[in-house]
């Protein structure tokens, strides 16, 4: 009997699997690669919630983009490259036109997917992460490191340090260490910092931390012996909180630590309690807090019980970053619809929308993001679009913005972008596009 029931159940399951709901034709498919489990979940969860909630908002409030509903599916990568590739393959062909774009939230997965996405003609949006050389859209047609690469971040961090010590000329002889996650993510800023160290005459020491970053005793011992004037933190997940705690253990002043924008969210400092007071980090333009768009999120998403997050966590740094990221993707689709019509678009068409995306102050205000973002303009030769940042400091309860806007100095980043992307083009036989002929 039991066996018969099992067979029956299996038959029902398989018939249900075969009769998967046929996708409606007027839907734009967007995959979400997220990680809600593993060593990086503390940071992955709020980000994924922000992304999911913004797509829900577009569907609930506007009924999609110009009537084209967004169809979203999440896939768990666990921040592992091979899982990420599997997720990408699983989701890239879904929906009537395939994935509009992909956003892996992992520099390692970005490296693994760069070539595939170009072949599949699906843009890869890496907002505030990814490979810094992909700013050069002539070579990397499908990569969009929007709002800032790690090289821009490194430049902004040094600008802030220069301001704190009283000018760029005062940087000479200073000691700056980089505590980094030993992966492509953490290694990205090193060449830029080396260039800057040479230019301004500070002494630069990179200090690697092995994945996942809970073991940092020897690194902080080295910092204690070397006594650097500043420590830049390029960490993610549990590594950030550990770094703050270890700094306290060796009595390294927290206000001399500057995290990158991925090392400056609530989960990074709250576990350390009072020890984290004074810790600084860069901001990828926006910070924590609620703005006009959050009111809509509460009204259309949370009031209808469709929110992904605990309501108390709406407006955290990484939640907001997820939202900004989703918004830029949605606006790119909207832009592409202007040219290709109000229907589901292919990745290739969305790529055009991304490359011609131009968000003015007025448009940002209209979207409810005023106060979070500065204008963004993306072009063929500049897939970054904007390279502004501020610095925030943790006061024990919240993040306080402590600086004006900085803009990364392109004269410093650009030669490196040209050199490294040129090397990639030669290695991969990519013929750079002529950006003057693109429209």
């Amino acid at each position: 009997m039991v066996r018969n029931k099992l067979i029956l159940a299996a038959a029902m399951l398989s018939s249900a699997a075969l009769a998967a709901p046929a996708a409606a034709q007027n839907e734009q498919f967007i995959p979400i690669l997220s990680y809600r489990t593993g060593a990086y979940a503390v940071n992955g969860v709020p980000y994924a919630n922000g992304v999911a909630d913004y797509y829900s908002l577009i569907n609930e409030r506007d009924g999609g983009i110009n009537g084209v509903k967004l169809l979203v599916e999440e896939c768990e990568t666990g921040y592992a490259t091979d899982k990420g590739v599997e997720c990408y393959e699983r989701l890239k062909g879904k929906g009537p036109t395939g994935a509009a774009f992909i956003n892996p939230l992992s520099t390692g997965i970005t490296f693994a997917l760069t070539e595939k996405t170009t072949t599949d003609k699906i843009p890869i949006i890496t907002m505030g992460y990814g490979r810094a050389d992909s700013k050069n859209g002539a070579v990397f047609a499908y990569n969009f490191p929007l709002l800032g690469t790690y090289w821009s971040a490194a430049d902004i961090a040094i600008q802030h340090i220069a301001k704190e010590v009283g000018g760029f000329d005062k940087l000479k002889g200073k000691k700056i260490s980089l505590l980094y996650h030993d992966s492509p993510y953490g290694k990205e800023p090193i060449p830029m910092l080396q260039v800057l160290a040479k230019k301004y005459g500070f002494e630069f020491t990179p200090i690697p931390v092995t994945h996942p970053g809970v073991e940092q005793k020897s690194q902080w011992l080295a910092i204690r012996q070397n006594r650097p004037d500043y420590v830049l933190v390029w960490g993610w997940g549990v590594m950030n909180g550990t770094a703050v705690k270890e700094a306290a253990a060796v009595a390294y002043p927290r206000d001399k630590m500057i995290g990158v924008w991925w090392s400056g969210a609530e989960p990074d400092v709250t576990p350390a309690g009072d020890q984290a007071v004074g810790y600084k980090s860069l901001m990828l333009q926006h910070g924590a807090g609620k703005f006009l768009v959050h009111a809509d999120i509460e009204k259309y998403v949370y009031a209808r019980d469709k929110g992904a997050s605990e309501p108390g966590k709406v407006g955290e740094v990484l939640y907001n970053r997820g939202m900004v990221n989703a918004m830029l993707g949605v606006e790119a689709i909207r832009k592409a619809q202007e040219k290709f019509g109000k229907k589901p678009l292919t990745g290739e068409q969305v790529r055009w929308g991304l490359e011609n995306l131009n968000l003015s102050d007025a448009r940002i205000k209209e979207l409810g993001f005023e106060g979070m973002l500065k204008p963004i303009r993306i072009s063929c030769s500049d897939h970054e679009g904007a390279r502004d940042g501020r610095v925030q400091q943790w006061d024990g309860k919240g993040w306080k913005v402590i600086s004006d806007w900085y803009t990364a100095n392109q004269s410093e980043t650009e030669p490196l972008v040209e050199e490294v992307s040129g090397k990639y083009a030669a290695e991969k036989n990519v013929k750079p596009r002529d950006c003057s002929k693109e429209s």
């Binding site: 249900a16 489990t37 768990e76 290694k187």
Partner: protein, 375 residues
Amino acid sequence: MLYREAGQFKTTYAEDMAIFPIRQDRIALGILLGIAFVGVPLLATFHIWPFNSEYLLWAILLPFLILALAAIGVNVLVGYCGQISLGSGAFMAIGAYSAYKLGTGVHIPLAWFGFAISIPPLPVLPSILLGGLMAAIAGILFGIPSLRIKGLYLAVATLAAQFFFDWVFLRVPWFTNYAPSGSVNAPRLDFFGLAVNTPIERYLLCLIFITVFAVLAKNLVRGNLGRQWMAIRDMDIAAELIGIRPLYAKLTAFAVSSFIIGVAGALWAFVYLGSWEPLAFSIDRSLQLLFMVIIGGLGSIMGSFVGAAFILILPILLNLIPTQLGVPLSTETITHLEFIIFGSLICYLLIKEPHGFARLISIGKEKLRLWPFPY
């Protein structure tokens, strides 16, 4: 009834010693190879279900073939020669990075001696095979301790290899051609002037590799060398007394095993990932390969395939089922469920059949011989 060898008389020694002495086995294998070499590519070319998207080829079959190859390598060492190794990930990495260096050109400046060693970029096939050779050399070096230490102690020694090579490829920029991010890109895949790009071509390439290596490995373990390995595995002192040199037997096992693992590593990097970092060959990979061999069956080539399928594909299937059925679960819950179910399945399987799938298959065969009359 169908699977009965009555009437199949073997009249020569060659027939008696054939890899597959039973006719039904040969037919089954022929059909399987036919499906793999002709059926799958044909279905994929015409996008017939289940090959209507590239997913099955890219994300399931390709990694399955490559990891099954690596599992064969691990099985030679762990299953046939009885030397527990936790360094398989490292040997995969050696294969991958050596192949990468050879494929992009080696330049060793020897400033002290006033000259430099330069090797121009080699074609892909030689670089993959030489990558395997490099792994074999490293395998021999790290196999030397096995002459003195055994069992778990040897596992710890091979663990050292794992961490050492993880460190080398992470920290020595020469191996990554000074790539700023430490992530390297495989060279273009050209085989004798043919570019291997589409998933079907990549699949066929890996299939050819694994078929050749599986046949080679199967013949090795059936022959003189394999018997030496198994004698060492079953009782090394007795083996020594009947005239088997432990040095030779153990080091050849390390060499052959590392060679196969190295080739698998190079394929994993070149054909599947395309762009990789040392984390792709971390200790997790070593453990994954070891589990494949244990679940599949120690000392069985067939078991390597089944084990690879179980460890690689089952979690993905478990992960896919709720979405396919339209059950509204968060990805978080699905992933946790996947871990729970997968873990319990492993426990259940090992309690029911500690010798793995290979044993289950052979029991199945025995029963099938008698079926439908159990006497």
